[in-house]
Symmetry: C3
Subunit: 152 residues, 3 copies
Amino acid sequence: MSIEDRLNELGIALPEAAAPVASYLPVVVEGGFAHVSGQLPFVEGSVVTGRLGENVTPDEGQAAAHACGLMILAQLKQAGLLEKVRRVVKLGVFVSSTPEFTGQPAIANGASDLMAEVFGDAGRHARAAVGVAALPLGAVVEVDAILAVEMD
Amino acid sequence: MSIEDRLNELGIALPEAAAPVASYLPVVVEGGFAHVSGQLPFVEGSVVTGRLGENVTPDEGQAAAHACGLMILAQLKQAGLLEKVRRVVKLGVFVSSTPEFTGQPAIANGASDLMAEVFGDAGRHARAAVGVAALPLGAVVEVDAILAVEMD
Amino acid sequence: MSIEDRLNELGIALPEAAAPVASYLPVVVEGGFAHVSGQLPFVEGSVVTGRLGENVTPDEGQAAAHACGLMILAQLKQAGLLEKVRRVVKLGVFVSSTPEFTGQPAIANGASDLMAEVFGDAGRHARAAVGVAALPLGAVVEVDAILAVEMD
């Protein structure tokens, strides 16, 4: 089954791939790896803002991480790579957090679970999840990714 | 000398490899690289918690980073990769820090020095060390790694 | 045109490559990728210190990120890799930020724009930019890099 078909089966509609906020590219492929730039949680065209431990609940944070994951998929699709993913290798998950909030793993699962749903075993990945002081545009979460892709 | 023998010579006993806190894998190998997920400092089964500049001394922080390094080795061993390490390529070191604490490099040496002790020249690596607002489970330090491994 | 010639044409003089602050290497090459350690903004031998949202303006922050980028180039030159860069693959940009500062992308452009100026299309890269609580030596910005390099 293609990944597009799998997304349809799951009832997942990808967002429009967000243009980079600044001077960089959404995806770079070299040596069999695709590096996807840090993606923010866009929902209906707006960034989900806030900070865990302050004004965002864990469920909202997890939903925001899921939205970051969807944007990673949207960027891969736009780059013509969605059907060429051999393996999700690593996710880097940066969670806007107060010093007291220590539940970053559950937040990050919003992105991690999506990858496993969409890619199956090939979607299971290594990960680092950390709490950061602030994110671009006030975003709740930012997620970057390394994937192994088929080389032409 | 095998790495297991070298660990014995150094008097280092690896901890039990910690199960991932959530939906991800401890290690993923692709294209000759092993990506190890962010590891927390477990000592006798408990996470070492706290924040540099607040309630953790630099020596305690460095010991926590050493514990993260041991957990990276334990994960490699469990994945059957410990004797296949060709090179430690990169460590990412995230230190729970107050805004005033700027001694992250010395903390990170707890993990870096371990790699050099265990792997010799092959253990010398690139690194980024930064101070973050908060870490999973309240951990003092989190360290992830990229290693070059022999391909079968 | 060589990269050295291009730097001359741009009027860019690289700084002296900074020695690692601790137990690690500035650059490690494996499998066609060069991993460059997190570089701090040295200007005339001193680290540019401060925090965005507190005592550093966005223009100063962007200039500091540019200085980090120059140091990445200086490390590549010292490692004999400057003329072997095939592609800048990924920059990781860590911006010392108050919880209120959300302009990390513009800061990070100080490093990103430099790469595009020096390497042209090969300098366009993936990126993650986040705001962190604190950085080594009190630095304003830290930037690490992955580059694809020609293998001998």
